[in-house]
Structures are given as C-alpha cells and as structure tokens.
C-alpha cells in the first residue's frame, strides 16, 4: 500500500534539498582546493580576535535574550496585571525592527549620550542585538508556559513551593526545550549578522567573511570561512537538540491552560514598570527617533528617491517579500509533510535544506548568482530569459536563505498531529496527499500561518540578497534604507525604515493570532 508513496516521498525530499542547497554547494566547491596562504595569514593576524569577539558576542546575546525572553514570558503568562494581553502582544514587536535599523538608531543615540568612542563597543552591540532578538525566546517560552497547564503548578504549590520554586523547579525545566529552540534562533541570527556588528566595530567571523572576500578578492577563501561559520552553527543546533530531548511536558486535553494569578499591588506596579521599561527601550526610543528623523526628511523633501516615493518601494517590498514568503511556505509545507513520519534519516536530510539560514546573507546572494548564471549560460529558458536579475531568480535566492523558517515552523505543528489520526486515514484507504489535505494540514493550519508570518517579517527586512539580485528599477524599502545609510544619511533612511516596521507589526500581529489559536513553534 505504501510502496509508490515511499519513492515519491523520497524523490520530493531529495529534489527540494538539492535545489535549495545548490547555491551553497556551488560555493563550497572551493573547499576541495583550500586557500592555505590566506588562512595562514588570517590565523597570524585577525582570526584569533574574530573567534574571541564572536564567542563573547554570542554568549552575551544569547544569555541576555534568554534572561529577558524567559523572564518576560513568565511574567505575562503566570501573573495577572492590567493591560497584560496588550503588553504580551507588544513585547513581540521588536521583531519588526530590522537589526540594521535598530543598530544605526542606537549608535547615533548613544553617540549623543556617551560619545562616539564609547558607543562603539561589543557590549552595546550585544545590547542592541538582545533588544531585537529576545522576542524569539519570549515567543517560544511563552507558548511553552501556557501549554504546561495549571495542574503541575497547582501540585507544586500544594506541596509548598513558593513563587520562585514554581518557576525554577517546575515551569523552567519543562520549558527548557522551547527556550533552547528560541536561543538557537537568536544564536543563528547573531552569527550571521553583518549590518549591526559592522556599525559597532565588532569583528565577528561573519564580518571576517566579508573582509576576506572584499579585501583579498578571494571568494574561495571567504567561502571557506563561511563554511567554518556554518559548521559552528550546525554544532550549536546539535547542542540545542541535545538540550531539547526530554524535559517537555504538555498538558493533557482535559487540563486547563495556565491560569494567570493575581498579583499584590506592589507586584502589579513592578510588573507594569518592567514591561513598560522594556517596551520603551526596545520599541519606543527607536520609533521616536525614527519619527523625528522622518519628519525632518519629509520637511526637507527627501522622502522620495528618483525611483519613486513610499508607494513605489512599498509595492515592490510587498510583491517580492510576499512571493518569496508564499513560495517558502508552500515548499516548506510540502517538505515538512513529506518528511513527517518518515523517520530520523528523512529528518536529517530535510534539515540540509535549512543550510541557507546558517550562512550570512551576502554569501547566499553570491552563491545564488553563481548558480543561476551557470544555468543562464545553458540557455534552456525560452526567449533568452535570464534568471539572474529576474523576480524568479530573486525569489529563489530568498527561499534558499529562509526556507528553514517555513519548514521548521510547519514541522513543529505537524509533530503534534497524533499518528493515530494519520494512520487511521491511511488504513481507511486515503493516499498520502488526501491524508495531508484532510488531516494534517487542517490540524497544522495555525502552524502554517505562524511560519508564514515569521517568513514575512524576515523577507521584508532582508537586504543583501535583494540588493544584488533585484531586477532593474525594482527598489524595495530595504534597498532605500541601504542607499541612505551607506552615505550616513540617517534622516533619509527613516521614512522607509518606519514603513518597514509598520508592515512588520502587521505580520507580528498575524503571528500572535496564529499562536493563540494553537500553532506550535517547537518540535
């Protein structure tokens, strides 16, 4: 009964993985003939420093994101205070602010406060990254806390555990896998960030990739360094998987979701003060500064570029980010459905498709150009159609970079579909496609929606791939921001930045709706 399905499934998995990993493989070809002289020089000069700075930044950003993300998630899930639901929503909104926008806003602001020299530090860079990335941990931890249900906490309380005891000895251990998954995302974003670290003069490995490539013109050596970076990311993910195993505890179907408990008056004041402080720092100050700059820019008449005004760029962003997010979610969903219930090997192979997420954007961009241009040279497409510089080529490269977000998000929700349901369907004669459409997709629909929303957030913010592969005359909001910031015209970058943040907020809103309805983030 399953025979044809087996082959069809494996063909799908291998085809998707091969296509998506191809731009990285094309670049990794250079590993066969390593550039030893570049490595020797790097090791003598910058590499040790890069490794140290990368490690310091990684540890401090992940630590900060875990502390704030988990703490705030516990606060809004375990306790009742006024505006709790609104605050719970707002705490995710920093995701809508691109790191490179938050970076220049904070750099300029802190330069005014502490001076240009002191503002350029690894620690301030870490703070800026924590402010923009903690929502990943927050989202995952909150979903896990709510999911733990009321009973285990009630038992703990009846056994005499205080507030701290309930948190540290019951809720936190059970949420460990979720927190680890959020922390892994934070780590990945930190490792591949280039825009923010450069602003603060932090020499990380990702920055080193660009240094080697632009400095020596040796794309091969740059790719080798990028591969080392990906290796580090893979190690991190393996470590995270180990952390994940065990620990998780979900409430049974009859058990109530976690019920927020009332706080004392002082507790309410403290809760509001803490969340408000976070919101003011992570969202309020950057938005205020952007509003201020934007109004100056509008007054000076620079809120347009020659390519057009806000609507032109907004339209292009919506079209490109929208198509890329749609294609990613479709491919990600098909991959996740095919991989599901097919065992460990399928999972490992499926995960190869996420390699683009562990690479700095510019490396993926060049890998895609090299690969697409090689295809173009074969002239297979009609009418001399060229993939490089086409919307199709750009969407492909974006999917390579962000497929992981769609695939893993859907996979997590599919894992919660009981095998009894899918197996019953198969026993009753439904094929794999019918089972997927009738049982798995409906059950995982909010997971698909959440993954789609996260994809939209990422696609709208994306810069290096769009910059290199966009068709002529198709400038997006992020390209506009780049054109202004690369000339240090911060005021002129404010209008497109604000528009991007607003779109991001809508996507974040959709994400939260999906999560409230039961989307899963962690498999």
């Amino acid at each position: 009964m399953r025979r044809p399905g087996v082959w069809f499934g494996w063909t799908t998995i291998l085809a998707v993985v091969a296509v998506v990993a191809s731009p990285i493989v094309v670049l990794a070809w250079s590993l066969i003939d390593p550039s030893t002289n570049v490595w020797a020089e790097l090791w003598r000069t910058r590499l040790p420093g890069m490794i140290i700075e990368t490690a310091l930044l990684l540890v401090s950003v992940v630590f900060g994101a875990v502390v704030f993300g988990t703490g705030l998630a516990w606060l809004v899930s375990a306790f009742e205070f006024p505006a709790r639901r609104v605050v719970g929503w707002l705490l995710v909104t920093p995701l809508a602010i691109p790191g490179y926008v938050g970076g220049f806003v904070w750099l300029e602001t802190m330069s005014d406060v502490v001076g240009a020299r002191e503002a350029r530090s690894l620690w301030l860079c870490a703070v800026v990254l924590v402010l923009s990335l903690y929502p990943y941990v927050y989202l995952f931890a909150r979903a896990s806390f709510v999911d733990q249900g009321e009973d285990s906490l009630a038992v703990a309380r009846s056994l005499g555990a205080g507030k701290a005891g309930v948190f540290f000895r019951v809720a936190l251990p059970a949420a460990r896998p979720a927190i680890a998954a959020g922390a892994a995302l934070v780590a990945m974003e930190t490792l591949t960030d280039i825009g923010t670290v450069r602003l603060f003069n932090v020499s990380t490995l990702a920055d080193g990739v660009m240094r080697v490539w632009f400095g020596t013109g040796d794309l091969g050596a740059a790719t080798e360094l990028a591969s080392a970076l990906t290796g580090a990311a893979v190690l991190l993910i393996t470590f995270e998987r180990l952390l994940r195993s065990g620990g998780r505890r979900s409430r049974g179907s009859t058990e109530a979701a976690m019920n927020p408990r009332p706080l004392t008056k002082a507790g309410v004041v403290a809760a509001i003060a803490v969340t408000l402080a976070m919101l003011v720092i992570a969202v309020g100050i950057p938005l205020l500064r952007l509003f201020f700059w934007a109004s100056e820019s509008v007054r000076a008449g620079t809120a347009v570029t020659v390519a057009g005004g806000v609507t032109h760029h907004l339209g292009n962003t919506m079209l490109l980010a929208g198509s890329a997010a749609v294609v990613s979610i479709v491919v990600g969903t098909i991959l996740a459905l095919t991989v599901a219930h097919r065992g460990r090997v399928a999972r490992v192979v499926g995960r190869i498709s996420t390699v683009g997420y562990a690479m700095p954007g510019p490396v993926v961009a060049v890998g895609a150009v090299v690969m697409l241009a090689a295809l173009d040279r074969r002239g297979w497409l009609p009418d001399g159609f060229l993939l490089v510089g086409s919307v199709a080529g750009l969407v492909f490269a974006l999917v390579v970079r962000f497929l992981a977000v769609g695939y893993q998000g859907v996979e997590a929700s599919l894992d919660r579909v009981p095998t009894t349901a899918t197996e019953s369907a198969r026993v009753l004669g439904a094929g794999p496609v019918r089972t997927a459409v009738a049982i798995e997709l409906p059950a995982a629909r909010f997971g698909v929606m959440a993954a789609f929303a996260l994809l939209c957030v990422d696609m709208v913010k994306e810069l290096p791939i769009t910059l290199l592969l966009r068709p002529f005359g198709v400038d997006t909001l992020s390209v506009w921001v780049w054109q202004a910031t690369s000339e240090s015209l911060w005021e002129q970058a404010a209008v497109p930045s604000l528009v991007m943040v607003v779109i991001g907020m809508f996507a974040v809103g959709a994400l939260l709706v999906a999560l409230e309805r039961g989307a899963e983030l962690v498999s």
């Binding site: 330069s111 660009m210 490539w213 400095g215 241009a373 040279r377 086409s390 059950a443």
Partner: protein, 347 residues
C-alpha cells in the same frame, strides 16, 4: 488535539494561500521579459557602485541623447562578482565604481573591453585611465586631513604626522574594510615602500584611533568633539558645507612638499560582453566631456578632466598637489595594503 474537519473554513484559507502561491510563481516567472521588447528606444545598462547623485546625471544624458539609462546599484565587489558570473549573458554595458582599485580589479579579471576613443584620450589625463584603455576616471576625490577649526591650530601636514603621539586619542579613521582606507595605504606603499608605509600605519594605530565606518560621521565626530583630526574624502566636507557653511572643520592638503594628497577616482569601463557597446561608449564619452561638470558637481568632486572648473565650494579649498602617479597602481597594490593593515592590527 484540536478539532479538524473537511468543512473547516481554515482549510479554505489554506487552499486560497496555495492558489495565491501559484499565481505569485507564475507572475514572477513572467515578470521580466521587458528588456529587448522595445527596440525603438536606445538603451544602455549600468552597474554602479557609486550611487549618490547619479540619477540627475543619467536623466540629463537621456534628455540630450534620447538614450535611456537603466542601472542597478550595489557594492563594487558584489557587482563585480555578479558581472563575472553572468559572463556573456550580462545585461551590463558599463560598470562604474567608487574607487580605483575596484575598477582595476574588474579590468584584471578580464571583464572590461578596450575602448579606442580619441575623445576619451584627450579628455582624461593618461595617469587617470588604464594603460590599455579599459577604464577611465570620471572624477577625482582626495583623501585629506580634516581637523577641528575650534580646537586645532597645528593640524598635521603629512600622513606621517597623523601618527605623531600628540594626536593619541584624538584621531578618527575609517576601518580597513573600506576601499578608501585600502587605497590610501596602497598609495603610501607605492610612494614610500612597504616598510615606511607600515611604520606610518603602525604610528596611526598606536594613536588609538576611533574607527568610524563613515566619512560623514567622522566629520560630525570632529564637530561633536569625539576627535580632533580625521582622514576623510574631500567631498564629504563639501557636502556638509552645502548644508551649513559655518561647520567648524578645516581641510589640510597633506604631503604638499612630497608626493601630494592621496588621489582616488570614480571610474567606469565598458564590459567585454556589452550588448549595447555603442550606447555605452556614447555614455562614457558624454560623462568624460559634456557631462563632466554635472557628474562631479552633484557630489562635490573634482572633474577628472583638469580643464573643467570644480564647483565654488571646492574652489574655496584652494589649489593643491595630488598624487596622480599612484592611481594606476592602486588595484595592483590592494592585496599588499590589505595584508599590511591586518598585520598592523588596524581595525
């Protein structure tokens, strides 16, 4: 588990999503067949790493010649990588860079065609174009010593003096990731040899410079008091002076008794695989002649053709000696400069 059924409205929304996906894919594939459809309009396509103030220049060219300019912006090395990968299929007819090393690297990679043009040879001095005429400078920019006119009355007069210990903690420099820094060090190597160039860079690093990856922000740092002197390109001061003529930053032309101020260029070349070589040549020749003034003035740069007058702000900076002999060497010496900067622990 949650309730699921065939009649679930959400199932509809998911199928809607999938249909949308199909539409998006189909429209994405069909969205780029504009390139050669209208053969009546003449077209030239430009990849440009210089992206500030080029639009009005291209518009003026189109108004005068009827040739439409299609361009994409980006960073020099990435555009070069794209051009190289595209090979014969590239849509690019002309590549334009914001510094000398990057255009020379493109020529070295065999991406640029030789242009035999009397117009270009007579407009652009021979030091400012490739020996094989694969690239041509279009404007000149000088990397000079900027200082606070409020706090500094003994600004350094040479690149070496910037390393004087009295500037310790008072100096702003651009990180070595930037081509302007790399080209400056290439010029030092060309004039003084590796050892002396290294000694100068070491003395800068010993002054514990504040590294800022933006010439504009270095000048603002001087105004704000974060540093007293900086090495920056001349046109950034020009740009700030256009906004506020009282800005307290002074310019000193370095090494006037020696090899002269470090001269870098904005340059362009026609690609070997240009589909519109005739139009590309017309644009290049126009930029080197009639368009010289507009091209240079929009960014407060000195025209590559020395007979064309710079704008008033630049005329106000006075005359100077520039290191014109190093320009052709900047590409060749770039790897050595990058290595020197790394070895000297320059950020």
């Amino acid at each position: 588990m949650r309730a699921t059924s065939f009649r679930d409205p959400h199932l509809k929304s998911i199928s809607l999503l999938f249909s949308l996906a199909l539409v998006a894919v189909v429209s994405a594939c069909g969205g780029n067949s504009d390139s050669e459809s209208d053969s009546a309009t003449r077209l030239v396509t430009v990849y440009t790493g210089r992206h500030y103030g080029i639009e009005p220049v291209f518009e003026e060219f189109t108004a005068e010649t009827g040739i439409e300019v299609r361009f994409t912006t980006g960073s020099d090395p990435e555009l070069r990588a794209r051009l190289e990968a595209e090979g014969a299929n590239t849509p690019a007819d002309l590549i334009m860079t914001a510094d000398a090393a990057n255009i020379a690297l493109a020529a070295e990679a065999g991406l640029l065609a030789t242009v035999d043009s009397e117009t270009l040879r007579s407009a652009i001095p021979k030091e400012l174009r490739a020996a094989d005429n694969t690239w041509f400078a279009l404007s000149r920019r000088l990397r000079v010593i900027m200082s606070s006119s409020e706090r500094v009355d003994d600004a350094p007069t040479t690149y070496a003096e910037v390393g004087d210990p009295k500037w310790k903690g008072r100096l702003c420099l651009r990180p070595s990731t930037h081509p302007y820094t790399q080209s400056l060090v290439s010029a030092l190597i060309n004039n003084l040899g590796s050892d002396d160039a290294r000694a100068i860079v070491d003395s800068w690093v010993a002054n514990d410079p504040l590294y800022i990856n933006s010439d504009t922000d270095m000048l603002k740092a001087i105004v704000a008091g974060d540093c007293d002197i900086a090495l920056a390109n001349s046109y950034y001061l020009g740009r700030l002076l256009t906004e506020d003529s009282t800005i307290p930053v002074s310019l000193t032309w370095p090494d006037q008794e020696g090899f002269g101020a470090h001269l870098n260029i904005s340059a362009a070349g026609i690609t070997v695989n240009a589909a519109h070589p005739k139009e590309a040549r017309e644009l290049l020749e126009w930029l080197a002649t009639k368009g010289q003034k507009l091209f240079s003035d929009t960014n407060n740069e000195y025209p590559a053709d020395p007979t064309v007058e710079p704008n008033e702000i630049l005329s106000g900076f006075g005359s100077f000696k520039a290191d014109i002999n190093s320009v052709r060497e900047l590409g060749r010496l770039n790897p050595a400069a990058v290595e020197l900067l790394s070895a000297a622990s320059y950020e």
